[in-house]
Amino acid sequence: MAKIVLDRLAEQFVAGEITETGSQHGNEWARVNPAHWRGVAQFLRDDPVTALNMFIDLTCVDRLGRTPRFDVVLHLYSVDKKHRVRLLAGLPEDDPSVDSVVGLWPGANWFEREAFDLYGVRFLDHPDLRRILMYPEFVGHPLRKDFPKEGRQPLLRRFPGSVDEEPAP
């Protein structure tokens, strides 16, 4: 159904910008070079053929063991054409950062904050990038696969010399 979106992307962008496309279980997806993340998203929003004007979801996947390690995942929907697409961009482990799309869709603000909070992905030019679900004093990014699933991190003010539980990595 959203085949025309992938065709349109193939028309407009060279292979270095859109690295891979595919379709699975009725979902069309395209893998984007992170350097062109915002540009591709803007094109899909403004192009009259794709008209993917509605922001649906933005999240991140930690594919531990793969290079690049992280995928930032954006879902868009077209209110008029009733099709949708998933954009993915691989981000390296040592510097997981990508352009923010808050300027295109204000609704992306909280979703990008959540991805930053839980995965440690940084969104460049985000107006207010701080934790949203966890508290500001929290150490680590809990949805990373190497973050332990058990353990405690009590909300304590750590004074020098005080005996606290070890913070999680």
Partner: protein, 419 residues
């Protein structure tokens, strides 16, 4: 204003600024901005949320809505649970409409398993029925709590009573009043009780009467209208840019309902309408919810009329537990049961974004499977996360008292927003 009351110019109160005569005519009382904390524990913040306001007198200048107080690591827990063990967690997402979350998650996994078109028809009908009952309880709760916060306590009792009838019925079916865990991958866990349909018809009749009463009490009530009309206006463009769906998006004029636009289960066989607002204010959100309840009841009645007989669970040893009688008497079923419980259903590798119409809008599940018995990632796209975020835009400029109905009509559910 009464005729004999003094005109505003003849009597004025001035605070420490010398003669009233020296003040310009249109000058307001001087104010300076003040930070104000609302919540996280505040009677009107019925979802544990904190708002850091900067107010000038009674007017809100800036607002920072802070969520996360109910964060329970849904995704991290889901990554370490088998596919079936996740159902109880989904109950606790939107805890006033757990069935809708159950159904949304089950559909996503079934699409990954490529069995979504093989689910028995009766199971699909049952899912529609329990889902629409859940939508009713969701909207009833939202309207009841919001009306109570505007001091309409009678409305609260009328609607809570109706919600209780529905929950008692769901308790009969699932065994739990609130956290049902009733849906399974491949169908539902138990059939409807024998007298389910007559009972539901009776309850719907009483619900209709309660909703009609509430309609009369609120819709043309001057106090209610003054608090709701023109407050917290959301435009259609806002709805698109902020990803607003469900009653909030529809009240803003965005006629998007997953049940109509991308029908799932058997929704395409029912005759129902999607109410859409024209102004996008609090009153539209109230009116849209009220009408949606009537439409849900229409769906329920049609679904009961056409409820087919047949199995309620897919007959597939890869996903469904074998009947207990066989588990205890045959070695094959015993092994199948053991494998399904211990290893979990094996879902082939893949990724899916599956979406349904939850109580608050598009409830999406983005699931990544690596081919094992546990999901690699199980992401929920919570509708009220997006809906709550828009408060940052619509609250500035309103009065402090307007926060209460606006927040109520956005209907933030902490369990779903914070996960």
């Amino acid at each position: 204003m009464n005729d004999h009351a003094p005109s505003p110019t003849s009597r004025r109160v001035v605070m420490g600024f010398g003669d009233a005569a020296n003040l310009p005519e249109d000058d307001e009382l001087p104010t300076e901005s003040m930070p104000l904390n609302m919540g996280p524990s505040h009677p009107a913040m019925h979802g544990t949320v904190r708002m850091v306001l900067e107010v000038e007198g009674e007017k809100v200048r800036t607002v920072d809505v802070q969520i996360g107080f109910l964060h329970r690591c849904f995704e991290k827990e889901a990554e370490n649970a088998t596919w079936t063990q996740i159902f109880p967690y989904t109950d606790r997402l939107n805890y006033v409409s757990p069935m809708l979350c159950n159904v949304g998650y089950a559909l996503a996994v079934e699409k990954l398993l490529d069995i979504d078109d093989k689910i028995p028809e009766r199971a699909q009908f049952i899912r529609v029925i329990v889902g629409e009952i859940s939508r009713l309880t969701d909207h009833l709760t939202c309207l009841a709590a919001s009306a109570m916060e505007l001091a309409a306590f009678t409305v609260f009792f009328y609607l809570m009573k109706a919600r209780e009838w529905l929950w008692e019925l769901l308790e009969e079916v699932s065994g739990a009043r609130l956290t049902h865990s009733y849906v399974r991958i491949g169908g539902v866990v138990a059939d409807l009780t024998d007298d389910f349909c007559p009972k539901l018809r009776d309850i719907l009749g009483r619900c209709r009467a309660a909703i009609a009463d509430v309609d009369k009490m609120l819709t043309s009530n001057r106090i209610f209208r003054d608090r709701m009309d023109g407050i917290g206006i959301i435009t259609r463009d806002d709805a698109i840019g902020w990803g607003l769906t469900g009653p909030v998006g529809r009240s803003a004029g965005l006629a998007y309902d997953v049940r109509k636009d991308h029908p799932y289960l058997v929704y395409d066989r029912f005759d129902f309408d999607v109410p859409v607002g024209s102004v996008g204010d609090n009153f539209d959100r109230y009116a849209v919810r009220l009408e949606e309840m009537r439409q849900s009841m229409r769906i329920l009645e049609q679904a009961m009329d056409r409820l087919p007989a047949g199995p309620i669970l897919l007959d597939d040893a890869r996903v469904a537990l074998p009947p207990k009688r066989e588990v205890y008497n045959t070695i094959e079923s015993m092994i199948a049961h053991f494998k399904l419980i211990m290893d979990g259903i094996v879902v082939p590798p893949g990724e899916i974004y599956s979406f349904t119409e939850g109580g608050n809008g598009e409830l999406g599940f983005y699931i990544v499977s690596d081919g094992t018995g546990r999901p690699w990632k199980c992401r929920v796209r919570p509708p009220c996360f997006a809906n709550t975020a828009v408060l940052n835009k619509i609250l500035p400029g309103l009065f402090i008292a307007d926060i209460v109905p606006t927040f109520g009509m956005i209907n933030m559910i902490g369990g779903e927003c914070d996960r």
